[in-house]
């Protein structure tokens, strides 16, 4: 384990004062961050020397491993392009991948609601098995709990993954420099909008599928092309690209400037966001990642992604600047600009 350098001055203090837990605390935005930094970190992970990332890299008896965990409570369980079982495997594989590690083994926990049809469970277990095979990861254990009918939303899955570091990668927000370029692996918002529509609460239909997939092949392609020049990576799940990049600006003390027209976005997602008053930069993704690379290697990095299956829509979407420090600025092609903050609460559609 990493050594604790200053026990007397913990990085985080218990200062979580919200009176009760609300949905926003799980939405991946500001409230989530407040909960983690204000309660979990100071009490549970005081020794953690690194800024928050998708997985922890630790040394055990001389061996480096990466470890992470993720829980899945999606509703509906199945949706165009995927299901909770696929998410449960890909989500953890991706958290490891963007931390610079290849997933080796997973363990999983099922929380099942009494009354769940066994056929539904079997479908999801099969989906997990298939997805794990595709992602090249082995599921080595698990746990099952059943709660009373009405005490859970059909089923929840939690996975914990252990991975081995990908050689040549040294990722840290602290390594990010002004002038570095920001790469995005493909179009954003597909997953979040697919789920929103699949809930059937909106009379909207679109030919859209969740983007759930393992990003490991793309990360490995990038690592072998420009390895040492990759400074930082993150998969923009809940809270979207805006939240991930805002976290980066906070962790590195620099600013992010994005060119709006460079951000890849399907028309269906854009249309739904325009109608519902949502910002695509706040919408969840399950099969994309962001990478900050040194400017000299940006084109080579982009080419390597584009040459990899599933990476042809990758783009350079912006760059790191000294200003606006601690914030993300989106610049339009006609010279207007706006700050894009972290997601506050859940994205709620507007009326008019």
């Amino acid at each position: 384990m990493s050594t604790v350098t200053s026990i007397d001055q913990p990085r985080y203090k218990v200062r979580f004062r919200d009176p009760q837990i609300e949905m926003a605390h799980g939405a991946g935005g500001k409230a989530s961050r407040r909960l983690i930094e204000g309660l979990f970190l100071p009490l549970l992970c005081e020794a953690s020397p690194e800024p928050l990332s998708d997985a922890a890299h630790v040394r055990i008896n001389g061996a480096s491993i990466a470890i992470t965990t993720d829980s899945f409570v999606v509703k509906p369980l199945r949706f165009p392009g995927g299901s909770i079982g696929e998410l449960a495997v890909n989500g953890t594989v991706n958290d490891l991948a963007v931390s610079g590690a290849r997933a080796e083994v997973l363990v999983t926990t099922f929380v099942l609601e009494a009354g769940l049809p066994s056929s539904v469970l079997e479908e999801e277990v099969r989906a997990m098995a298939d997805t794990a095979r595709q992602a090249g990861v082995t599921i080595v254990g698990g746990d099952t709990k059943v709660v009373e009918h009405g005490k859970a939303d059909r089923m929840y899955i939690s996975t914990c993954g252990v991975g081995s570091p990908i050689a040549g990668l040294h990722l840290s927000a602290g390594a990010v420099r002004p002038g570095d370029k920001i790469l995005l692996s493909g179009p954003i918002g597909d997953h979040g909008i697919t789920i929103l529509l699949a809930r059937g609460e909106l009379d909207l239909e679109a030919n859209l599928r969740s983007d759930t997939r393992s990003v490991l092949p793309l990360v490995e392609a990038l690592a072998s092309a420009v390895g040492g020049s990759i400074r930082w990576m993150r998969d923009p799940t809940r809270g979207g690209v805006a939240t991930s990049l805002n976290e980066l600006t906070r962790d590195c003390g620099l600013g992010v400037v994005l060119r709006e027209e460079s951000i890849p976005l399907r028309d269906e997602v854009r249309g739904a966001c325009e109608l519902l008053g949502l910002d695509p930069l706040h919408i969840a993704n399950e099969g994309q990642f962001l990478a900050v690379v040194s400017p000299e290697c940006a084109n080579a990095a982009l080419e390597s992604l584009r040459a990899t299956p599933g990476g042809h829509e990758a783009r350079i979407i912006g760059e790191i600047r000294k200003q606006p420090a601690g914030a993300v600025l989106v610049v339009t092609s006609y010279g207007g600009s706006r700050i894009v903050d972290m997601l506050v609460g859940d994205p709620l559609p507007r009326i008019c």
């Binding site: 009760q20 837990i21 609300e22 949905m23 926003a24 500001k30 409230a31 609460e201 909106l202 009379d203 600013g255 400037v257 060119r259 028309d267 854009r270 249309g271 325009e274 008053g277 912006g318 760059e319 600047r321 200003q323 606006p324 420090a325 601690g326 914030a327 600025l329 610049v331 339009t332 092609s333 006609y334 010279g335 207007g336 600009s337 706006r338 700050i339 894009v340 903050d341 506050v344 609460g345 709620l348 559609p349 507007r350 009326i351 008019c352």
Partner: protein, 376 residues
């Protein structure tokens, strides 16, 4: 994307901005109010302030239906939902708006049955699906959303759905504009007229502003080019000493309005003698109530409503911001005690609130930005 990309075309925007620069007399200051909160958000979201000359000041108006609702009405609505048989249904916009004891979302977290709906008919469907519960729809909005509430009430009556009611908080735009013009501390040269409201009421109701108040008004759409073209129209009128109503948003707004929508509103609603607006006090004939033929679906008839008046926290200056007297950042609580996460006033959380727009898109830009240019 059709009907969107044409109105965000960089070359056209640049050309329109050039036109604005030619028209704007550098020797004078222009104070233009955008009445509608949708415009305020578009102005910040598209960064239009960055491209406009500095002597054109855009003043944010009261056209945010969530913002103008006094806190007492939110408390009243939530008090009805304390009955466990009641499902409280409202638009997403309402969910984070603070009441005295927290927002609807906070009440939901404490166990109250609060649902987000996307239209009033969804709330009616909810009632049909839950015959043993009562669904109370918290209706808000200007004339934009009032017709859909009216249609829903007509359908509830026609289909005999008795476990449904509407807590009507619909307000009307014209009295609010009049109140602003009557306000002694307001100096406004021209108005960008609300686009969505006008799809229903048309352009004629604004004619008195042009005629008796001698203020130009351009009803405009919500894309960058719409707003900029609206400003061009206003600057031309000001240059020529004219004052008339112009319709920039012809692709959506008919001059005479939407007769069918006006008809259903007339059938279901009648004007309240007066209604309280946040920060603006009581304004006569400025809101709608459900008329007696639909009393069985009127939550104000069916439930006991405390009707308590709650004053806003003293330090909050929501009223001044709503009237355009203060800019959001000039409020004493802005970004300190009042943030989107911990809002004191609804302006900080509504998708049309000017404080939310300023906080989200502009606030930190202003404080941290120096020499930003488009990256190569």
């Amino acid at each position: 994307m059709k009907y969107v990309d044409e109105f965000r075309e960089p070359a056209l925007i640049t050309r329109t901005v050039e036109e604005i620069k030619r028209l704007a007399d550098t020797q004078r200051q222009y104070r233009i109010m955008e009445v509608c909160g949708g415009h305020t958000h578009a102005i910040y979201r598209f960064g239009l302030k960055d491209v406009l000359p500095s002597n054109i000041e855009l003043i944010h108006g009261p056209g945010c239906p969530v913002c103008v609702l006094p806190m007492g009405r939110i408390d009243d609505g939530l008090s009805m939902a304390e009955d466990p048989s009641v499902i409280f249904a409202a638009f997403g916009d309402m969910m984070r708006v603070p009441g005295t004891h927290g927002s609807p979302l906070e009440h939901k977290a404490r166990g109250m049955d609060i649902r987000i709906v996307y239209s009033p008919t969804d709330a009616l469907k909810l009632a049909a699906k839950n015959p043993d519960r009562h669904v109370m729809f918290f209706a808000i909005g200007f004339e934009t959303t009032a017709p859909s509430t009216a249609l829903t009430l007509m359908r509830a009556k026609a289909e005999g759905i008795r476990n449904f009611s509407v807590f009507c908080n619909h307000v009307t735009i014209i009295p609010a504009i009049r109140a602003i013009l009557d306000s002694p501390d307001m100096r406004i040269d021209a108005f960008i007229g609300p686009g969505h409201v006008s799809t229903v009421i048309g352009c004629r109701p604004y004619e008195w502003i042009a005629r008796s108040e001698r203020k130009p008004i351009a009803v405009s759409g919500f894309e960058p080019l719409d707003i900029l073209q609206g400003i061009v129209m206003l600057l031309r009128q000001l240059r020529d000493g004219e004052s008339k109503v112009e319709n920039q948003y012809k692709r959506v707004v008919p001059w005479e309005g939407n007769r069918a929508a006006l008809r259903v509103m007339a059938e279901v609603f009648q004007l309240r003698p007066y209604f309280e607006w946040r920060g603006m006090g009581f304004i006569s004939q400025s809101a709608l109530r459900i008329n007696d033929q639909f009393a069985a679906w009127d939550a104000e008839h069916r439930f006991h409503i405390p009707g308590v008046r709650v004053t806003d926290p003293k330090a909050a200056q929501c009223g001044e911001v709503l009237k355009g007297v203060l800019k959001p950042a000039q409020c004493k609580l802005f970004a300190t005690e009042c943030t989107p996460e911990r809002p004191v006033g609804a302006l900080m959380v509504s998708s049309e609130g000017s404080c939310a727009a300023y906080f989200n898109y502009e606030h930190r830009k202003a404080s941290t930005l120096t020499n930003i240019s488009v990256p190569a």
